[in-house]
Each structure stands twice: as structure tokens, then as C-alpha cells.
């Protein structure tokens, strides 16, 4: 039973990270119908920013909590700036182009950002400082949950609640939903659609940055390629739940994370991806729009 709970909790940790990234994919898709393939790179850039900032601050002898707070803040700001800029440079000029063009542009941006970090940093794995404070749980919990698992889980839950409140109750959130449902009408009621799209990219990037810092600190090393792999997994989670749907991104991440964790624990870690993607294929066969996605029906 302990083993089950342990797997369950480590699955939740994975799910949390996937969810933080998947939200960016799903929100951007919801608002401009684009799969932002460069999103994984934004997450990677968040982790690198955190590495650089935390190292510099440590050299100057800042206290631990100041380092953590400033590092997270810097990663969020830096990633958001990248996300916002990528949208302005690579997607906005293609707003009225055929759907394939921005997609190619997104893949190009992804490759560009990977290589930029590769050249600016290194291709080796770099050690990442433990930014999540270590504390020991008492037995009988100590061997099933670690402090970083708990911090990741709590952070993700907090972020999700805040995001849900933002989207449901604030004027900006309502405008985001209105824009994703009917762009022309959004303009006609006076919503600045470009601004709303920009805000969506900023929020998605900020969430990815938080995910990047958390996972880098949890695993302890990063390189330029982490964004690609995490990005593909989070994208899978978003599609699984129904791309464009925010609750879908939560649910898809949860299912994907738990499946991987149990497959690793009970079968073999070699089969982790096999189970995850088989699940995706199965769900797409029976529910092509994803679990909570809507197959669009036009009412005349």
C-alpha cells in the first residue's frame, strides 16, 4: 500500500509540472488556434534564467529566501518577456495567414531558441541548486513524500486556483474568454484583441517559468533540451484533456502523470512513454476532441 501511495504522489508531482506547461498550450490554442511549439522552450528559458540569477545572487551572499524569491520572480519576468516577444515577432504578422504558416513559424522559433541557448550556454547538463528547502517529514511519511514533492504540489494547486479565479471573475479573464469565442465580436465591444492575446502569452509563459524552476530544482540539473521533451509531454496532456479547455489541461496532466508513474513503478521505467502515448491514442480514437474538449457545432 505504501508503494502505491508513493507512486501516486510522485505521479501527482509529474502531473503538476505537466499542468503548469499544458496550460500555456491550451490557453494559446483557445485564443488564436495555434499550437505554440516554442512553449517548451519558454519553460527551458525560465529554468536557465533561474540558474543564472540564483548563482549570481549566491555569489553576492544573499540570504536563502531572498534568493528563492528573486530567482522565481526573475524567471517569471524573463520568460514572460520571451513569450510576449515571440508572439509579436513570429505569430502576430501571420494572424491572417493560412493556419499552417504560424505553425511552421512556431517550430522555427522552437529550434531557434534551443540553439540560441545551446550556443549561449552549453550542451552539457548543468547542475541546478536546490531552491526548494529540504525538510524531513516524520515517519511514517518520510519515505513516501519529499519536501520538493509537497512544494511542487502546493504551488501548482495555488496557481491553478488563482488562474481559475482570474479567468472566471476578472474583467480581463472575461475578455479572454470572449476573445477566444468570437474575435470579431470582441473587437466590436471594444476589446483590444492584440492586447488580450499578449496577456495570454504572458500568463502562459509565467506558468511555464514556475514549472521550469520547480522541476529543475527537483531534478537538480538542466540543459537546453529539457524544454522539448517536457513540451511534448505537456502538449500530449493538453490534447488528452481537450486542447483549448483549461479544466481539460488539468485533467489531461493528471491522467498522464499518474499513468506514467504507475507504469514506471509496476511495469518498467522503459515502458513509461509507451503507456502514456498508448493512452493518448486510445482516447483520441474514442473521443477525438479530447476528454473535455468540445467538438464544434455551429448554430445558425
Amino acid at each position: 500500500m505504501d508503494y502505491f501511495i508513493e507512486l501516486f504522489l510522485s505521479g501527482l508531482t509529474r502531473s503538476s509540472i505537466y499542468a503548469l506547461i499544458a496550460l500555456g498550450y491550451t490557453m494559446v490554442y483557445g485564443i488564436i488556434g495555434l499550437i505554440n511549439f516554442a512553449h517548451g522552450e519558454i519553460y527551458m528559458i525560465g529554468a536557465f534564467t533561474a540558474l543564472i540569477v540564483s548563482t549570481v545572487l549566491a555569489i553576492y551572499g544573499f540570504p536563502f529566501f531572498a534568493i528563492v524569491a528573486l530567482t522565481v520572480l526573475a524567471a517569471i519576468i524573463w520568460s514572460s518577456a520571451y513569450g510576449y516577444t515571440v508572439e509579436k515577432i513570429a505569430y502576430k504578422p501571420l494572424r491572417n495567414a493560412p493556419r499552417l504558416s504560424p505553425l511552421i513559424s512556431a517550430i522555427g522559433m522552437s529550434i531557434f531558441l534551443q540553439n540560441y541557448v545551446l550556443l549561449a550556454q552549453t550542451s552539457d547538463f548543468l547542475p541546478f541548486p536546490a531552491l526548494i528547502p529540504e525538510f524531513q517529514f516524520m515517519e511514517p511519511y518520510a519515505h513516501i513524500i519529499g519536501s520538493s514533492d509537497l512544494v511542487i504540489l502546493l504551488t501548482t494547486i495555488t496557481v491553478m486556483v488563482l488562474l481559475t479565479l482570474l479567468i472566471k471573475y476578472t474583467k480581463t479573464g472575461q475578455a479572454m474568454r470572449a476573445t477566444s469565442q468570437d474575435k470579431k465580436m470582441a473587437m466590436l465591444v471594444g476589446i483590444n484583441v492584440d492586447k488580450i492575446i499578449g496577456i495570454t502569452f504572458i500568463i502562459g509563459s509565467a506558468l511555464a517559468a514556475i514549472g521550469g524552476v520547480l522541476i529543475a530544482s527537483h531534478i537538480g540539473q538542466i540543459n537546453f533540451y529539457i524544454g522539448f521533451i517536457a513540451g511534448i509531454k505537456a502538449f500530449t496532456a493538453a490534447v488528452l484533456g481537450g486542447i483549448g479547455s483549461i479544466p481539460g489541461a488539468f485533467l489531461g496532466s493528471l491522467i498522464l502523470g499518474l499513468t506514467e508513474s504507475f507504469a514506471t513503478g509496476y511495469v518498467s521505467s522503459d515502458y513509461e512513454d509507451v503507456f502514456a502515448f498508448s493512452l493518448l491514442v486510445l482516447i483520441l480514437i474514442f473521443r477525438p476532441a479530447g476528454l473535455l474538449g468540445k467538438s464544434s457545432i455551429e448554430k445558425v
Binding site: R177, Q181, K184, M185, M187, L188, V189, G190, N192, V300
Partner: protein
Amino acid sequence: MLLELLAVNTFYGNIQVLYDLNLTVKRGEIITLIGSNGAGKSTSLMSISGIVPARSGKILFDGKEIQNMAPEKIVSLGISQVPEGRHIFPDLTIQENLNMGAFLRKDKQAIQKDMEYMYSLFPILKERADLPGGNLSGGEQQMLAICRALMARPKLLLLDEPSMGLAPIIVKKIFEIVKKINKDHNTTIFLVEQNANLALKIAHRGYVLENGRIALQGSAKNLLVDENVRKAYMGV
């Protein structure tokens, strides 16, 4: 003069839709633009709202040139549009739809008051305030669309085919409300309609659009008895 279009030419890509359109709307009047399918009626409204900007010519609102302004700027000056097909935000609740109409306003209390007023015009909307807009019937959606536009407290209300696809009794009700809004709030109304008979009955003046050009204009009374208008648009 509240709105003036001076030699407006509008294109979709390479295809010209409006040719040297000249049109004026006086403060407080109901004016109607009638014409057949594809004449350019909706495009005229989209050019005024800045969604499909005019390629040449001038659009003056309250004496200000607005032809190069962004759509949200035009809304903030006091022009609201109810587009053809209503365009309710389907997954936003009715209340949220109304809220979006007041997107550029900051006066929370007055917004609340206006919302109550809309609910008094159409009590059915109040009953369903928390339901998604997409659940409403066509007629209810049209009412909601008009209310949403009014939430911006526009000086000029652009109405595109409010009668489309609706039962005659609902159309009658909607036109009564349009008249009431014009009278009670002195809101100027620019009504685009295929149903020429209906439109000319509530309007003060009318324009007839043919292939992107103004073919005829005059007081609604005269147009209503005009031989050509009756033949072409009323099937008499």
C-alpha cells in the same frame, strides 16, 4: 451631423465592395440602409466600426475623422454595433455577455443600473442571467445582442439585419424596442435591413444600396411609395 461618410471606398483584398459611398446621419434620427444580398450593407457598417477599414475616403463622427482608428477606439467614441447573425458569446453567461458590452466603461454602479434597465426591457434575460448565451433561442439572442450593444451607452447604434431568421411577432417586438430606445434615450440608429418594408416604416430617412453604390435616397415616406423600391425590394 452625427455621422458622415465621404466618398468611402472599401475592399476585401482586391475586390471592391463600396464605391464612393456618401451618407449622412443626423443626431437623433433613425436611418435605414436597404438593399439586396451582397450590395455592401454589412460592409458599410464594418467600415464604420473599423473592422474592415475604408481604403480611401473619410468617415466623420461628431466631426472627428475615425476611418483610421482601431475598433476599440471607435467604440469608446460612442459607436456600437449589433452585427448580422447576432454573435452572442456562446459560452459566456447572459450577464457576462452584457458585461462585455460595457467593457470600456469604468462606472460600476451605472453599469449595474443599466443592466437592470436591460432586464426590464427583456425580463426573459433576467430569468436566464446565469445561463450560457448559446442556450438562448434566436429571438432571445437578438434581444441580448441589442442590450449588449446598449450597455456601452452608444450615441450611435448600428443594427445589422435584426429581423433575420426571426418569427414576425418577435421582429415586431424588436422593432418596437428599437423605436423606444430612439425616443427615450435619443440614441441615433443606423438600421441595415433586407426587409425594406419594415425598415422604412420605422425610419425617418433611407438609402438604397445597389452593388456598392447609393442608388436612391430620401425620406422614408417617399421611399416607401417609390415605384422602383416597391418593385425591387418589396415584391409588389
